[in-house]
Structure formats: structure tokens, C-alpha cells
């Protein structure tokens, strides 16, 4: 940057002074407002403006001034490039991510701040993505930034003793961001699909900056694999299409290939965290030529591993389905019974929907219909309601009575 400023102003001392001032201003202003989207450009612009001010004040001649002003747009890109090559930048982005995702901030504020500071989304866009008023989102962002400054949330990459926990926190924010977009990305809701794009982009940054973090690679792989099915999972009318019924030629093979590679690399590091395992499960689906050749035994094993690290009822529910699909239908149904006694999933429509699906596959149409009806009472999302309604109609009409297992 100094070199570029020297080139622009022809004044070595001036360039150095202005660059130093820009850094100083950055340290103050970034601590309060967050680091801008393009720190290099920001610094260059500030330093350049300072240099112009000084030149003006020093009355160093209209010609030099005019020349500098004229060259600015082209120079900015050039200098951004120079800045990008400097090692400090990557550290700054990482610092910023950890600061935005600090657990002392409210979760929704972490997501919004990350999108604003690192994702380059405007406040209005973030507000639309989260279905809130722009003023509400602006307030949320302002409050979060004020808290970072006032409560003195440190602007840094956490020290080693905090790093694993905080990295997990960053990944959780990105996954939440992705799911927020993925689960709602239907029909004309394009802005919400942007959340997926941003989450993937930011996960790439983390993977690049933290190569020794297998869970970061696991999360990126997981998001890529889910995203690879985005086109295929919604029908023309916005209807949800189940994994089994999706047109697999519409899956994004490029994303699948990238994820497979990432995943192999992450497991090669000798650990298997929850994101890696979930990605491995998604990869099993992605690698199956068609639904019937899905390696359900492998999926059931992976869910078993996942359950040993993340023993949530939802994981157990998925495991039960995988076990049933691998051929042990009774065992799967028994696991669903356990979950029902457990009670933690009471009111969760997918527990009833899973039972309905397993009964349908077994040919128990009456049992399936009863469970679909229960699931329909509990479901809240329109696309899922339409899906369940269709299934219920099928079993009632007896069209889907044949077991596929």
C-alpha cells in the first residue's frame, strides 16, 4: 500500500504517514464498526484521501492533485491486489469472523453481523432474508456492534484454550445461516437462497484459513452436499420432493465431487466430528445411482457413530429410519417406540411422519394413514403439509401399498 501511495503521490514521507494514519484509523473504526468488506480497499481509500487532503493543504500544485484523483479508480483495484498479497489480511478476516460469532452476542445477532461484515449483504437484504423489518435488523446490528465495543469483546482469534469451543461456535453460526436459507428456499424466495451461497462462501474462507480443522471441512462438505440437491428438491409448483423421488440427474455433480474430496481429506486428519459424519451420511445418498441402491447399512452405522457424539432424539430418529431402510424394519419401529416413550420429541411432526413412512413401506396402509394424519396435525410448514397430504391420499387410495423393502 505504501508502495502504491508513493507511486501515486511521488512523496515517500507523505505516503508512509498517510498509510500509518489509515491503519490507526482502521484500528479505531474497525473495533467499533467492524472490519469493512474489503479491508484493503478501505485502507487504500482512507490513506489515499488523507494524501489528497494533505496535498490540497500543501498546495502542491493542481496538476499532481488532478493526476492523483484521475488515477484513483484504477489504482484502487491494483492496490487491493497488493494488499491481498500481504499476510495480515487473512488474520484480519479470521479475527473478524470470531468476533462476529462471539457467544456473548445473541445468536441471531451473530448470524446477521457475520452476513453484514463478511458476507457483503446489505442490512436490507439481511432483513428480508430473516423476514424482519429493515429497521429491526438495523437495530439488531447496531446493538451487537455497540456491545462488542462497550463490553470489550476482544477482536482476535481466540487463544488455544478457547479455540475449539469458539470454532464450533463459528461453524454453528454458518450452519444456521445455511439452514435458514435451505429450509425456506422455495419458489420466489430467492434472497433466502442467498443465505446458502453466503454460508458456503464463508465456510470456504474458514477451511482456507483453518486447514487443520476437519470439522470446518466437514461442514463445508455437508452444506455443499445439501446444496447440490437444491434444484431437485422443489417441484415446478414449489412442492417438496423427497430424496427418494428426486431426479438425481439434477443434482449438482460439481458440488458433490468437491464435497467428496473435502470429506476424504478431513477424515484423513484422523477425527470424525458431527459435521463430518453428517456429511458422510449425505455423501452416501449422493453416491447412490438411484434410491434403491442407497447403502442404508452404512448410513445406519454412521448415525450410530453420530449418536455416540451427539445423542439427540433427532439423531436417534434418523438412525431409526436408516436401520429400518437397511432391512431391519421392526428394529427401526422399535426405536421409534422408544423415542415416543422418551417424550422429548412430543409434538414433533417428523416422528409421526417417519412412523407413517415405515408403516407405508411395510404395507400397513391403515397404520400409515393414522400416522400421516397425526403428522398433519403437527406440521407447520406449508410445503411439508402438501407433501404429507399427498402421501396420506396415496395410502388411503391404496396406490402405494406395495412395500419397497
Amino acid at each position: 500500500m505504501v508502495a502504491a501511495l508513493i507511486r501515486r503521490t511521488g512523496d515517500w514521507d507523505l505516503a508512509e504517514e498517510c498509510a500509518a494514519e489509515a491503519f490507526e484509523q482502521a484500528s479505531r473504526s474497525w473495533a467499533v464498526d467492524g472490519v469493512p468488506d474489503r479491508p484493503g480497499a478501505w485502507l487504500t481509500t482512507v490513506a489515499g484521501n488523507r494524501a489528497l487532503d494533505r496535498l490540497r493543504r500543501a498546495k502542491r500544485g493542481a496538476e499532481l492533485l488532478e493526476q492523483a484523483a484521475r488515477e484513483q479508480p484504477a489504482q484502487e483495484d491494483e492496490m487491493d491486489e497488493i494488499w491481498d498479497q500481504e499476510s495480515g489480511l487473512e488474520d484480519d478476516r479470521l479475527r473478524l469472523i470470531f468476533t462476529c460469532c462471539h457467544p456473548a452476542l445473541a445468536l441471531e445477532a451473530r448470524v446477521a453481523l457475520t452476513l453484514r461484515s463478511l458476507g457483503g449483504l446489505s442490512t436490507a437484504e439481511i432483513a428480508r432474508a430473516f423476514l424482519v423489518e429493515e429497521a429491526t435488523m438495523a437495530k439488531r446490528l447496531t446493538r451487537a456492534k455497540a456491545k462488542i465495543a462497550a463490553a470489550r469483546i476482544p477482536y482476535r482469534v481466540p487463544p488455544p484454550e478457547l479455540l475449539p469451543e469458539r470454532t464450533g461456535g463459528v461453524l454453528a453460526v454458518l450452519y444456521l445461516m445455511f439452514n435458514e436459507g435451505y429450509l425456506a428456499a422455495f419458489g420466489t424466495d430467492l434472497i433466502r437462497a442467498d443465505l446458502c451461497v453466503e454460508a458456503i462462501r464463508l465456510a470456504r474462507v474458514i477451511v482456507q484459513l483453518m486447514p487443520g480443522e476437519p470439522e470446518a471441512a466437514g461442514l463445508l462438505a455437508l452444506m455443499l452436499l445439501n446444496d447440490s440437491r437444491r434444484e431437485a428438491r422443489a417441484g415446478a409448483d414449489g412442492q417438496l420432493i423427497s430424496l427418494e423421488e428426486q431426479d438425481r440427474t439434477r443434482w449438482n455433480q460439481e458440488q458433490i465431487d468437491e464435497a467428496t474430496l473435502l470429506l476424504a481429506g478431513s477424515f484423513a486428519q484422523g477425527s470424525a466430528g458431527p459435521y463430518q459424519l453428517q456429511a458422510a451420511i449425505a455423501a452416501c445418498h449422493a453416491q447412490a445411482q438411484d434410491a434403491s441402491s442407497t447403502d442404508w447399512s452404512q448410513i445406519a452405522r454412521l448415525y450410530g457413530l453420530l449418536q455416540s457424539s451427539t445423542d439427540t432424539p433427532v439423531v436417534k430418529l434418523n438412525r431409526a429410519v436408516a436401520v429400518a431402510m437397511s432391512g431391519a424394519v421392526d428394529q427401526g419401529l422399535a426405536m421409534l417406540d422408544e423415542l415416543e416413550h422418551d417424550g422429548r420429541l412430543a409434538g414433533y411432526h417428523l416422528l409421526a411422519a417417519a412412523r407413517a413412512d415405515l408403516l407405508r413401506r411395510r404395507g400397513d396402509r391403515a397404520g400409515a394413514a393414522a400416522s400421516y394424519e397425526l403428522a398433519l396435525e403437527l406440521v407447520t410448514s406449508d410445503s411439508e403439509r402438501r407433501f404429507l397430504t399427498r402421501r396420506l391420499a396415496e395410502v388411503q387410495a391404496g396406490q402405494s401399498g406395495q412395500s419397497r423393502i
Binding site: H102, A150, R152, P154
Partner: protein, 250 residues
Amino acid sequence: MNYMFLICADDTTTPEAGAVMGRETPGWVQEMDDRGVRLFGHQLEGPQAALSVSVRDGQTLVTDGPFAETKEFIAGFDLIKCDDLDEAIEVASKHPISWFHSIEVRRILGPDGSTDMPLPDAEVLAQPKPGHQRYLFLVAINGIPGSDEEEAQIRAEVETWWEELAGRAGMRVFGQGLDHANTATTVRVRDGETILTDGPFVESKEFVAGFAVIDLLSKDEAIALAAANPIARYHHIEVWPFARYPFNND
């Protein structure tokens, strides 16, 4: 950078939890004193001993208990000197109270926005003036801001009150403002995991905006002094006696 820990407890404490907190807290105090992190702190008498003082139409109104009617109450406080919020969280998470209840971490605002907090001499801090009871006054703001002019007026009045108080012969008093409750972080430790919440321990529009520690001869003197605080005309002053026997829960 100074923080105030508001130690928040409720009446669900089991005898076992009480025993752990009673046993472990002195060790935490010792450790944090030695580290130079803990500047001052004390256990308070329970909420039944607290008073809420306000002045309306020239009348002093005194009610028993803290102003906000919640099952959680402030059982004690610590003044902490840390580099940043991460260190404050670490210190709070080691406090045995956080393993069962919660600790609200608030930035202390130094005079004129500085980061320093003037404290009296160590021997003054160590114990109350002979024959006196030590009190914690908490300025409880109802969260409804007045106009800028009104707010500036209140601040000026408080400043005058404070200077007059501090200048009174023999009066032992120190205190400070706290940053807005919006910037609070509540720390809990459950199953060895530190759980943070953005905001104060109890979600209400009422929040603690400042504190003062004062040695006084009687409860009546405490009420009179709290009522003299200009803020009492707009909000409330909570008056909490210091516990006479720290760390003894029985």
C-alpha cells in the same frame, strides 16, 4: 477494563448446592484476589432485607424487597479488573455460584467514560467504619428514557448529589455507573460447559444502571440518603445491606 459481577441466585438452592458454593467460594475469592483480578466484592443479605426507595410528589416511598418482583435476586457482587470480556467470562465461570445460578457481567463506566475505576484505600475497603452497617445501593432504572434534556438534567443533579455526598465529613462512599443492560452478558456453567446469554439475568425493562457502597449508621439513614438521590424521583434506588458473615449461607 472493569466489570461488575451481579451474583444472581434464586430460592431453589438445594442443601448440596449450598454446601458446594459455601465450600468453594472462598477459594475463588483467594485465587482472584491473588491474580489481581478481583478488586472488591461482598455477599448481601437476602432480598427480605432489601428495600426499594423512590420519591413521588415529594413523598418518600419505601417497599420491602427489590423493585423487580422476580424469583431471582442479587445475592452478592464483585468488582473485577480484566483485559476483556473473555477474561471476565473465564473468571465468572470459575465462580462456584455460576455452577448453580448465574452471574451477570456488566462493564463499569469510569468517570468521563474512562476505563479506570477509583477505589478507596484497601483498609477502607476491608471493613465498614466502626459501628456502621455497609450498604450496596443499586440504581434501578425503569428503562423509559426521558427527553435528552431531561436525561442531561438528571445526570447533572446526580453529579451534584454525589459530590456533596463524597465531600461530607467522615462519609465513606464509592460507586460507579454501569454500561447499558443491552451490553450485559449472563454467565452460567452447566455440566462443565460455559453458557452465555446476551443481556441481563432477568429480562425486564428495569435494569441496574449504577451502584454505590456506603457505610451508614442505620436503615433510616440509608433510606434518607437513597431518597435524596435525584434518580429516586424518576426511578428507584434499591438498598441492600451487606451480609454480616460472608459465605455463611445458614
